[in-house]
Amino acid sequence: MLTFIFKRIFEAIPTLLILITVSFFLMHSAPGSPFSSERSLPPEVLANINAKYHLDEPVINQFFYYLGGILQGDLGPSFRYKDFTINELVAQSLPVSAEIGIWSFIIAVVIGVSCGIYAALRQNSLVDYFVMAFANIGIVLPNFVLAPLCILFFSIYLKWLPAGGWNDGAWPYLVMPVIAMSTSYIAQIARITRGSMIETMHSNFIRTARAKGLPAYRIILQHALRPTMLPVISYLGPAFVGIITGSVIVDVYFGTGGIGQHFINGALNRDYSMVMGVTILVGSLTILFNAVVDILYAVIDPKIRY
């Protein structure tokens, strides 16, 4: 297992390097610059700004400056939020998205897996149809519709919850972002769990267990649950990264100050270092959680060994 972990770390370095290189040059090849605006700057003013950010140097030099910075843990200054570095912005916004994300993840897994198993065990019953209908609605209902609907209902009509803000994660501020964030994940997890459970329940070892006269709860908990979870876990790895790195919709509608909106706004503003920062962050987390998924596989499935 240790060898496996070291191997994954060793593989991660070239993967990240390729990711950084491709993203850097793609970003720099986009038309416009961080400082192009409707009010175009006099050339002498623009020259001073470009010099300050090394943008007057060849792109290859900028790339090596950037790599040098990363090696020292410095993601560079933000071109858009000039008073802040990317490190500061990530440090401020990632915990917000992570908190919303972790709650959403826990809720999505608990509700999604429970609903999926329940529906699978009552396949083609009313409950099954209800769960699947909910799952399909959850998948097709985009959160840019769900978020304003939540605000309209809970904040404007019922006046139960604040329409936005974060206030250090006080619970009333968490509820709606978590609903908006988790709904589609609940739906996806319920669908995958249901499909996997149905497949497992039809397999030979379950038939054997039934033939031996084991009670239903033991068949499910001891024998069916583990193999059912395998496809769910391979979905959860990348889903976890997606959920804790936030959503632009949640950030924009609920004004939480999370990291989600930096993905889109970074690209639109040509905030090169912001785009690179979030790319590296998501890239690293994806590699990390894929490795975690692989390890969990080995724990759950005795056939898999590293």
Binding site: F35, D83, F84, G164, G165
Partner: protein, 538 residues
């Protein structure tokens, strides 16, 4: 009255005026104030910076105006009101301005605001090390050596500013610029706290480090969540301030802004979504505030490519736009149809109505057909082109409406082309367009803020319109005490004669404001100060 006397009179007038009029919350008798004086404002996009010398964009200006104060302020009508300066005098040829500063102006750490802070602020704005995107703002009034310093051809200390003593600040201009004092209300020319900036470097604007001289001081800033400011008890006019705390929420999305307002979490929105205008106007007519803004929405012609180098084609396209339909049915929140480039609300200049504006739309359309035919185009040989705009639903609706007007009246075949913001800017800059959507909001309340845009060498003249006489008139206007006649001639040339651009409508600011917020003073430049406001008991 000769020039000198006029200048002296105007200077004395401002001094006298300033002595009685200051900006502060003016609570009418009988109004009962709420116990909690806290205001939450929708603040538009998160500003790039709070450093006054570096701020760009209105969201940043709104916030820095709360935190800092320059020599003078502008009231709702664009008139000067005293800030740190109480009066000023000028020399005979109007090139040396001497400002007398109040002795009770203090930074939030209790230290006095002196002429040295203004010297440092002005120098920072042009210093290449600061790399301010607004450095050009100091070039406009032609402060001595500003351009040379920005170009790294002179030392920053050679800038034409001087602290005669702690409370006398002197600015020397290379040529007389009549509107210079008005320009001092802009944040680029605010004072800067040298000790704090030298101590913290770029970090000086962070909460805990920042020292400011406005009615409020920075308390906290969580990017994309909120910025909180509390009353600065060192502010010279603090006794007249009523609101104790102001919070700006960075709500770039109009719909999110409105939802927070409707949920009672925002007292004044930044904007309001046009789609909701009719509903809001019906449900809460007293809360919808529409104010004409100093800015024009227009279509730009690339005058370097055929056939848009032909004024007849430009005029035909402009005449065929039914501006009443656009403002009434497409934008529909009180925008005014624009026929001249400078909005009529600009201070000190009332543009003459151009001839084509006095015609009926039918007459304009008939004339448009004739003009386009004279250029060799008709329904059998239609003019075809791409209309470029930046991706946005509002721009799209306007483009569809205008394209159909052109098609119906002139048989013109238009392909709509939308591009993401920065790509669109780059395309326009490269001159790779035929007709493009554009808009311009004035930087200061004077007609040159609009008209300069069409001079040959202006960096934002993307259509590359060029007319020597126009350039001469605008250049001459810079040193004239009353340049209105030049501005009228310039409008006549650029619009009535050449139709360099097709003005479509004058912008408006549109906001929702709770009825319990008093003292809100809307104005064309959107200079809104929380220190003027108060919360009525409700």
């Amino acid at each position: 009255m000769n020039l000198k006397k006029t200048l002296l009179a105007s200077a004395l007038l401002s001094v006298a005026f300033g002595a009685v009029q200051t900006q502060a919350a003016d609570v009418p008798a009988g109004v009962k104030l709420a116990d909690v004086q806290e205001l939450v404002r929708g603040g538009g996009a998160e500003p790039a910076t709070l450093d006054p010398q570096k701020v760009e964009g209105t969201p940043g200006s709104h916030r820095t105006r709360e935190l800092f104060e320059g020599l003078y302020n502008l009231d709702g009508d664009g008139n000067l009101t005293p800030g740190v300066a109480t009066s000023y005098t000028t020399n005979a040829d109007n090139t040396v301005y001497t400002f007398n500063l109040r002795k009770d102006a203090k930074w939030s750490n209790g230290e006095p605001v002196t002429a040295h802070d203004f010297v440092f602020g002005f120098q920072r704005a042009v210093d290449p090390v600061t790399a301010s995107a607004y450095a050009w703002y100091v070039e406009i009034p032609s402060i001595v050596n500003a351009s040379k310093i920005i170009n790294s051809k002179a030392d920053v200390k050679s800038l034409g500013v001087k602290a005669v003593n702690d409370y006398t600040f002197e600015v020397t201009l290379e040529r007389p610029v009549p509107y210079f004092v008005k320009m001092t209300s802009h944040q680029t020319l605010f004072p800067a706290p040298r000790k704090t900036i030298e101590k913290y470097g770029d970090e000086w604007v962070k909460p805990g480090n920042m020292v400011s001289n406005g009615a409020y001081k920075l308390d906290s800033w969580i990017v994309n969540e909120k910025m909180e400011m509390v009353r600065n008890d060192q502010y010279w006019n603090n006794d007249k301030t009523v609101i104790n705390k102001v919070t700006f929420l960075p709500l770039e999305n109009d719909s999110a802004d409105l939802k927070r307002y409707e949920a009672g979490e925002v007292d004044i929105t930044w904007n309001l979504p046009s789609d909701h205008f009719k509903r809001l106007k019906k449900e809460s007519p007293n809360e919808v505030i529409i104010t004409p803004q100093l800015g024009t929405y227009y279509y730009q012609f690339n005058t370097q490519v055929e056939p848009y180098n032909n004024p007849a084609v430009r005029k035909a396209l402009s005449f065929a736009i039914n501006r009443d339909v656009i403002t009434k049915y497409v934008t529909g929140v009180g925008e005014q149809p624009a026929y001249s480039f400078t909005p009529s609300i600009v201070n000190g200049f009332d543009p003459e109505t151009p001839a084509y504006a006095t015609m009926t739309q039918k007459e304009r359309e008939a004339e448009a057909k004739k003009l386009l035919q004279s250029a060799g185009y008709d329904k059998n040989n239609p003019l075809t082109f791409n209309l470029l705009y930046n991706t946005n639903d509002g721009h799209k609706r306007i483009a569809i409406a205008i394209a159909s007007m052109w098609k119906k009246t002139l048989g013109v075949e238009v392909t709509l082309e939308n591009q993401e913001w920065k790509t669109y800017l780059e395309t326009k800059k490269a001159g790779d367009f035929q007709v493009a959507r554009a808009g311009w909001i004035g930087d200061y309340n004077e007609a040159s803020t609009m008209l300069d845009l069409l001079t040959s060498t202006h960096g934002n003249n993307d259509g590359k319109y060029s007319n020597t006489e126009y350039d001469r008139l605008l250049n001459e206007a810079k040193t004239m005490q009353n340049p209105a006649s030049n501005y009228n001639k310039a409008e006549e040339i650029a619009i009535n004669q050449d139709m360099a651009v097709a003005p479509i409508y004058t912008y408006v600011t549109k906001r929702m404001k709770k009825p319990y917020v008093g003292g809100y003073q809307p104005n064309p430049e959107d200079n809104i100060y929380t220190r003027d406001m108060y919360i009525i008991a409700h």
